[in-house]
Amino acid sequence: MELANTRYNNVLSQIKQEKTKRRRELLETLRKNKWALASLYIIIALCAMSLVSFIYTPYNPFQFNLAIARQPPSLSHPLGTDELGRDILSRIMYGGRYTLGISFISVTLGALIGVALGILAGYNGGKVDTVIMRIVDIMLAFPTILLAIALVAAVGQGVKSLILAISITTFPVYARLVRGTVLQIVNEDYITAAKLIGLSSYKIMVKHVLPNTMSVVIVQMSYYMGLSILLASALGFLGLGVPPPKPEWGTMIGGGRIYFFSAPHIVVIPGIFIFITSLAFNLLGDGLREALDPKLRGLLRRG
């Protein structure tokens, strides 16, 4: 018995080793995609920049000084100053917490609601499915930006309503996507096998259905990070997002807009940051899709 136990102990440690190895392989695949990797580094850098702003910015991002207003980039102000003479670099750093933070929270929130609804609808089918999908269809009947505008207009401006608006406009997409995936999964034999061994519906959803939808969700989340950043900054630009003087990037463009012809850098610089961030998430999404999509990976096993 003693001997048998050691034998199976070995098996168990092998299983653990194998699992860590697999996880590393997945990272390797991602790492091989140089664009995705570069995007990941850019995203990390942007996040780090936003975090640093909590303890340090070169200047006070709210301190205005009309004497030095609208100065182009220089040694003392590397990204120049804005219409009120505030240091743009400091404002970009400080504003990252809004642009990135709002997108991140609302994308996560939207994904949580959407995934839960999608799994409920797809797994249960029948009336639950009909009701949920009807709601989703109705929500999808609103153009994204419009629904967000309507919500912000109704609730009033601010960070919270922005998060609410973005998550409400995005959850139906997750719900529909996940439901589609779940409908495929529930017809697979391993779900039937799980029923046969007597697992409860809840356990089947959590252990067998959910993990198999995750790759789709993660890829979608990455794309939606890109989209949310555009959405949040567009609302900011229209004056419906994070209200000034808070330096959300879109709000910064909206504020500097009238001085655009004389001092284009006030508009151009925040725009570049928005563009790069959004682009990075889109590229990361592409990379994740390649690394996670079993179809693309399956191709390697042909013949």
Binding site: T130, R134, I135, D137, I138, M139, A141, F142, P143, T144, I145, L146, I149, A150, L151, A153, A154, V155, G156, G226, L230, S233, A234, F237, L238, G239, L240, G250, I253, R257, F260, F261, P264, V267, V268, P270, G271, I274, F275, S278, L279, N282, L283, D286
Partner: protein, 311 residues
């Protein structure tokens, strides 16, 4: 199932969606933490002012009665009166509609004219340099903040080169910047969808049958690849037109294009609550109708759709 029946069924579903959308708009306006009366009255208004506005809008009645009243009004074509202009909301919308339609049609036409050939090309020659360039462009299109892009265009083409007017409407020249900006945004998605659906269709087995018949490449492409790949493309086009008819809010605002989108933003800033609500409803209506039209086109393209059983 006949095409007529199929459309009837879809129309019914669209109707249900529309009622649901009405409810959503209604709830957004009444239930969410913001108080429309307070918003309309502005921050300095007294409690009495607010109460008066509330009565004027019928907000003192129970919620379900409000909803029924509201649905009734909508079906009579009465979206209420604009606070700012004092005219019926529907008149304001109709006055702006031609501009929005013009911009939507122009932008979508440009986008389709560019995106379809590019998408088809990069689907058929996925490894060519041009294809890589095309996917880079469509990725950029998906990542660019459009309001920013619009400003850059104004800077280059109006301020510096002085080729085109920067805002307003009037001549065909006014249309160029807004429609191209919008088209660039639409193109990204359209190219990508075209590429992937053409690629999928080209790898289908029936294409092999067509080639094996000895059919020439042009016919194989037209009949057996493109026609089959149309459904997702038409879907995206429909979604795009549907949402453009609601006014390209951002583009219209930046270029001061007098369409429905900029009207919406105005109405929100003036707290012209009946106008805003009316516009939103109108937009949803347009969206639903366009989607219905898309379903109709599906039925024409694909015989299976006509006979599919819908639950």
């Amino acid at each position: 199932m006949s095409l007529g029946k199929f459309i009837a069924k879809r129309a019914f579903q669209a109707f249900v969606t529309l009622i649901g959308a009405l409810l959503v708009v209604f709830l957004i306006m009444r239930i969410l933490p913001g108080d429309p009366a307070r918003l309309i009255a502005g921050p300095e208004a007294s409690w009495e002012d607010i109460e008066n506005i509330r009565k004027m809008l019928g907000l003192d009645k129970p919620l379900y009665i409000q909803f029924i009243e509201y649905v009734k009004c909508v079906f009579k074509g009465d979206f209420g009166k604009s606070i700012k202009y004092g005219t019926p909301v529907i008149n304001e919308i109709l006055a702006r509609l031609p501009y929005t339609v013009l911009l939507a049609v122009a932008a979508e036409a440009i986008a389709v004219a560019l995106a379809l050939p590019l998408g088809v090309y990069s689907a058929l020659k996925p490894n060519s340099t041009l294809s890589r360039f095309i996917s880079a462009i469509s990725l950029f299109g998906a990542s660019l903040p459009i309001f920013w892009l619009a400003l850059i265009f104004i800077y280059i083409f109006s301020a510096k080169l002085k080729w085109l007017p920067s805002f307003g409407a009037g001549s065909w020249k006014h249309l160029i910047l807004p429609s191209f900006t919008l088209a660039l945004l639409l193109m990204g998605n359209l190219t990508r969808i075209t590429r992937s659906s053409v690629m999928e269709a080209a790898s289908m087995n029936h294409v092999t049958t067509a080639v094996a018949k000895g059919l020439d490449n042009g016919k194989v492409l037209r009949r057996h690849v493109l026609r089959v790949s149309m459904i997702p493309i038409v879907t995206i086009m429909g979604l795009q037109i549907g949402s453009l008819l609601g006014g390209a809010v951002i583009t219209e605002t930046v270029f001061a294009w007098p369409g429905i989108g900029s009207l919406l933003i105005d109405s929100i800033f003036y707290r012209d609550y009946p106008l805003a609500q009316g516009i939103i409803l109108f937009i949803v209506l347009a969206f639903v109708i366009v989607n219905l039209a898309v379903d109709f086109i599906y039925g024409l393209i694909d015989p299976r759709v006509r006979s599919r059983t819908w639950s």
